[in-house]
Symmetry: C2
Subunit: 392 residues, 2 copies
């Protein structure tokens, strides 16, 4: 247990939320508040602004007066566009009834958990993992159960037996983030098939967080549960406009799920945020319709960045890492490092480079650091020069 | 209990969410899907588009590259602007530490409930009330307890004894929406004082939903708990850009609370939606800085609309209503009407006017209908002509 710092408040807050640790990435970034000249590679965000054709989509929608409430599940045109986009990307026909628009990927995770998790239920998560997924389960008084990947030579491997052993009769879902944040790990098609089989048999949901599906360097798109599921399978796929189209600030995402699920999702959207921003949904249309050259361009940029970072970090004495085939993170093990939070704070203070501590992604991440390489080669080279003394 | 229609799904959903009834307003609007020429007065939304200076604020922010994640609690400039705005509106100095930006008013309600409600806790709500407030409590496995206003001559009166009698040792908060949706009821300063005293003594929170505070016709602004609270009082005020600046589609709101509360709110924002849309926050700045003439203009429009609607409805034989001094709804009792949902469906089918059924706001609302008068006099006159036969 962490020590609880109770604020001086006039009435009680919910103990479970009070005891949540808060983001350890933010703990590092806040430790460097006001520091100039630093290179921030701690957040999961490109340093490129949103491309102009997406901005144009928003502006045109504003000019056309799209400033009113939309349906909870999103404007029909965007739901149709997403259905077409996913159908083209995957080996399956996705219908508009399978699509619900959300106000970001993390919003979709929270909404989905609200439709599944009663107090005492559990969700089994493949870890290390972005902490928000477990926190959403906890906030509903559910139990997030961790099924760790196995670290092998600086990379990560899934142990299906360990994953399935974590499930019991209170398990409502298995949560798989592939390609994974922070690991860059990608589930193999046969692993996804085994997970789907298991979920079918147990009649529990497989939740696929696929926000990095386009940022893949060894094939066109990451393997997905959507590829192999039938329309009636218990698969919920969560996605976002943030990573593929550099739209982190826009807060727009979507869910693909069996047709009968959408009404329930629409109900919880009503009392969570009553739909995504209207003209942002229109901008999402522009992203999907006109965005393919942009996606190809950033994937090529990130591929080169990945190669640079892998080569440079690989040459540092204390670092162990495998070249990631997806996402935009170098997640690397540091020999002899016992406290990743302290190390990340020290690195930003001494060397002016912002990294995320592995402990931010769960106890399995202790001993590791995460570097987001979605920036220019010049900045990356400078950052790597700076941190080399600390890691050699 | 309503009959549960179980969708044909491959795995179980959460029973509590499955059993939620869904919006009864939407049940009416969906019953008229595809009907042409109807006048929709069912939703709580003006038919005016957002004013140009707000759109301009968003466009400038896009051009300036404000397309990245913002801090969870919002951009400092907007938090400062809201602090200044509320300080000017109320008799108290509000500091930037008291302000948190949210992705709409309903989003703020859900976030606040997450910081207070453990399973089995209850929140006591003054009703009839917009259903999302109770649903947010239910979604956290809490118990929404209803303390009904008393209907008196077509208007509503607060019974403080009844309100306080609903509170017990599992009560975490009293929720007061004043000016109220659907009633237009406004709490008197002495009533708010009594509620604050009670909450202080019991060490529970007073949550004030004040999204209609500017739409007031008998004084400059509605009485508020913020007027009378000290910085350390257990008061959480929830607000929105939707109503005062015609920004329903934008999804932007704020919370005013004791300084120590903000960090906890920031933690839940992280795994709910990780902040409001970046450039929408910049547009909010424009609304606050340049919006006062616009607010004055729509208040004058709504005042005239209110007078027209009150006079016309008051002349219909079966209608009983008091003139509302706030918000933009005529909430009226219909003599002999037993089923407001059926009546609202019948009115839209036969007469082409969309009204919200009173039952949508709880059992206390049965026998009533809600008409949103945030539209032109011409449309209102036409709508009133059409429904007169049904109500005379």
């Amino acid at each position: 247990m962490t020590l609880m710092k109770l604020p001086n408040l006039p009435a009680r807050l919910r103990p479970l939320v009070e005891e949540m640790s808060g983001s350890r990435i933010r703990a590092v970034s806040e430790s460097a508040f006001g520091k100039t000249g630093l290179i921030p590679l701690w957040f999961g965000e490109s340093d490129r602004v949103t491309p102009p054709f997406v901005n144009e989509g928003a502006k045109k929608a504003l000019d056309a007066g799209h400033t009113f409430y939309t349906p909870n599940r999103g404007i029909p045109a965007l739901r149709e566009a997403v259905a077409g986009y996913v159908s083209g990307l995957r080996k399956r026909k996705i219908d508009v009834e399978n699509v619900t628009i959300t106000a970001s990927g993390v919003n979709a995770i929270m909404l989905v958990m609200q439709t599944l998790v009663s107090p005492g239920d559990n969700v089994v998560l493949v870890t290390p993992l972005w902490p928000n997924c477990a926190d959403a389960v906890s906030a509903l008084s559910g139990e997030p159960r961790r099924a760790s990947l196995t670290a092998v030579n600086g990379g990560w491997k899934l142990d299906l037996d360990r994953l399935f052993a974590q499930c019991d009769d209170r398990t409502r879902a298995i949560f798989v983030n592939s390609p994974g944040n922070p690991t860059g790990w990608m589930a193999k098609p046969e692993e996804l098939r085994a997970i789907l089989e298991f979920c079918r048999k147990r009649r529990i949901w497989a939740i696929a967080d696929e926000v990095y599906e386009r940022l893949v360097y060894d094939r066109p798109v990451s393997p997905s549960l959507v590829d192999i599921a039938t329309p009636d399978d218990p698969v919920i796929s969560i996605n976002s406009f943030s990573k593929a189209w550099c739209m982190t600030g826009w807060r727009l995402g979507w869910v693909i799920a069996p047709a009968g699920y959408g009404d329930t999702l629409g109900k919880v959207i009503e009392f969570n945020m009553s739909a995504a921003t209207s003209f942002v949904q229109h901008a999402g249309l522009a992203a999907i319709r006109e965005g393919e050259p942009f996606v190809a361009e950033i994937v090529e940029q990130y591929r080169q960045a990945r190669d640079l970072v892998t080569q440079r970090l690989g040459g540092m004495r204390r670092v162990r890492m495998a070249r990631p085939d997806a996402a935009f993170y170098a997640f690397f093990q540091v020999d002899g490092m016992k406290d990743s939070l302290a190390t990340a704070k020290e690195i930003v203070a001494k060397h002016g480079v912002g990294l995320a501590p592995g402990i931010a992604f769960g106890p399995e991440g202790e001993g590791w650091l995460r570097l987001c390489f979605a920036t220019s080669k010049a900045k990356l080279s400078e950052a790597l020069d700076r941190i080399e003394p600390a890691l050699s």
